[in-house]
């Protein structure tokens, strides 16, 4: 098991290397550069000076080696958008907020989604099931910035119950600067789509497992419905759920530009877009490597989770003893 995990981590390093090469070559092959003039023209000498300062006058392969030799020492350079700070500092500062948004959203989306899915599965074709299916379809099809606008219009503008935006600045918080009233709308808007997906998957997995022969066996033993569900149905329904739902997690903890700009949250999500638009090479590289890293780790964790849920799965086992 340990050897397997080490192998997987080595593979993850190789993936990061591949991603870095692809992203670096792609972003340099896009026309335009970070210091292109938009209004007045810079004197050519001044521009050459700036390019030289950031090493952009060198051939791309040399720039890549230069970047990577710093990156392996966790020096990811200076963001061109904000030259007074470093990429590492900018990401850790903005990501700290995004992780708060993301984790809260994950708890809400998975908590309510799983509960709704279980309930719907156990009351198939009842009005609750129909409602869950309808809301799920809505949640998947309506984009989160539209939901965000509705929520703002209803709860902030019309009813004036909750603040329109911000993150941890409303002054009404549960703990210190966390779990504030201004967390509610962004988290709800952000959580609806993943919650819908979670609910649908949970329902589908449970309905499938409930039809299995071993569930009938468990009922024939005289176990109560709750025991049948806890011990036999849910344990098995987890297997497809882990596969499908694990992939929601990295998306949610890297933030969304729509949610962040709608609710004026200073998170990481917007940098995915602005760094690309501004040809902010160090920031592009760092954000992409972060996403690739999170996905790699997540897949590893999903595979480890399988071995805990399903005894038939043994990671890296050569043969059964």
């Amino acid at each position: 098991m340990l050897g397997y995990i080490c192998g997987r981590i080595f593979a993850l390093m190789m993936i990061l290397l591949a991603v870095s090469i692809i992203v670096f070559s792609l972003m340099h092959s896009v026309p335009g550069g970070p210091f292109d003039e938009r209004k007045g023209r810079l004197p050519p000498a001044a521009k050459a000076n700036i390019l030289k300062k950031y090493g952009l006058d060198q051939p791309v392969w040399k720039q890549y080696i230069n970047y990577m030799s710093h990156a392996v020492r966790f020096d990811f350079g200076i963001p061109y958008q904000r030259p007074h700070t470093t990429v590492a500092k900018l990401i850790s500062k903005s990501w700290a907020i995004t992780v708060q948004v993301g984790l809260t959203t994950i708890v809400v989306a998975f908590g309510f989604g799983i509960l709704a899915g279980i309930y719907a599965a156990y009351h198939q074709n009842s009005w609750v099931d129909t409602l869950v299916t309808f809301v799920s379809s809505l949640g998947v099809t309506v984009p989160n910035f539209v939901v965000a606008m509705w929520l703002i219009l209803i709860f902030a503008v019309s009813l004036n119950w909750l603040p329109m935006g911000g993150w941890g600045s409303s002054g009404q918080c549960l703990i210190d600067k966390y779990f504030c009233t201004d967390w509610i709308l962004p988290v709800v808007a952000y959580a609806i789509a993943p919650m819908a997906i979670v609910a649908r998957y949970t329902r589908a997995s449970i309905v499938e497992v409930m039809g299995e022969d071993y569930v009938r066996t468990a009922r024939a033993k005289g176990l109560s419905e709750i025991k049948v569900m806890r011990k036999h149905v849910l344990r098995n329904a987890q297997i497809p759920m882990v596969t499908a739902l694990g992939t929601e997690i990295p998306n949610l903890i890297t933030g969304s530009i729509f949610i962040e700009s709608t609710f004026r949250i200073n998170g990481l999500g917007k940098y995915f877009v602005t760094s690309t638009l501004n040809r902010d090479y160090p920031m592009i590289m760092a954000t992409f490597l972060l996403v690739a890293f999170l996905w790699g780790i997540l897949y590893l964790l999903t595979d480890i989770a399988y071995t805990m849920i399903d005894p038939r799965v043994r990671l890296g086992a050569k043969s059964l003893s």
Partner: protein, 323 residues
Amino acid sequence: MGEALLEVENLHVHFPTPDGVVQAVNGISYSLGKKEILAIVGESGSGKSVGVLSLLRLIPARDCKVQGSVNFEGQNLLKLSDPEMRELRGNRIAMVFQDPMTSLNPVLRIGDQIQESVIEHQGISEKIAKSRAIELLELVGIPEAGKRYRHYPHQFSGGMRQRIMIAAGLACEPSILIADEPTTALDVTIQAQIIDLVKKLRREIGMSVIWITHDLGIVAGLADRVAVMYAGKIVEFAPVDQLFKTPQHPYSRGLLNSLPRLDARSEKPLEAIEGLPPNLINYPASCPFLERCSYQTEQCQIPPEMRSITTTHEVCCHHTEKL
């Protein structure tokens, strides 16, 4: 047979579907004595599985209609509340299912699956339950039971898994074991072992068995009495040797004629029963076997009633005298 342990009277099981009502079981009656092994035979779709699943109210479709009465120890099982029913399931009446590859939960240790009914019904501690589970594994002939107790279903062969299913069924020492085609998925040598095991357990524990099968060879070697089912009805009910020697219903005769025999001349082809069973949605108003029967007369338009031809032999046909 003495006093009956279980009495099924006029049991009907109907499933409403968008195409009409499927009449899966149509008024079957039988009794099961103490220590008796009763075999129910019939082809696929004859209602034999649904008939026994309905005894324990284990039919998954919520809208299915079960009528009649099932008397066990002075109570009608069809009228019990859900908790009362659960109290009997696995405890007094246990069930072993057809496919051992899918009937065990793949993510739980087999020990857990054997002992959970004992823990549920007798409220004993895990530790005692564990020693009981190991005892049961030894009883059904699983070597190294103490070690195997901790294994998962995928670490066993099909025959072993069926033994585990039987061990789980026996955990509470039930009065009745219902076995729904438990050997169909197994090869013949394993079948023979399982049958010997059930006979041994009947002697040792003194339980009654309802054994559902479509294999007449197993019936001959195992059962005391046989009920032959066709289109949701019992068409013949007799002690096993009488059925094999003097089958009365044309369907039973057809079944027996379709068996290969060691003493028959090899050139003669096996006789098949021509035609198909009736559609259970448009259930015929005549005798259900009419279309496939070579003895049919005008009289067969009226469905025959079950009647006794000897004290132990019942048959559902107008023409038993002619046969």
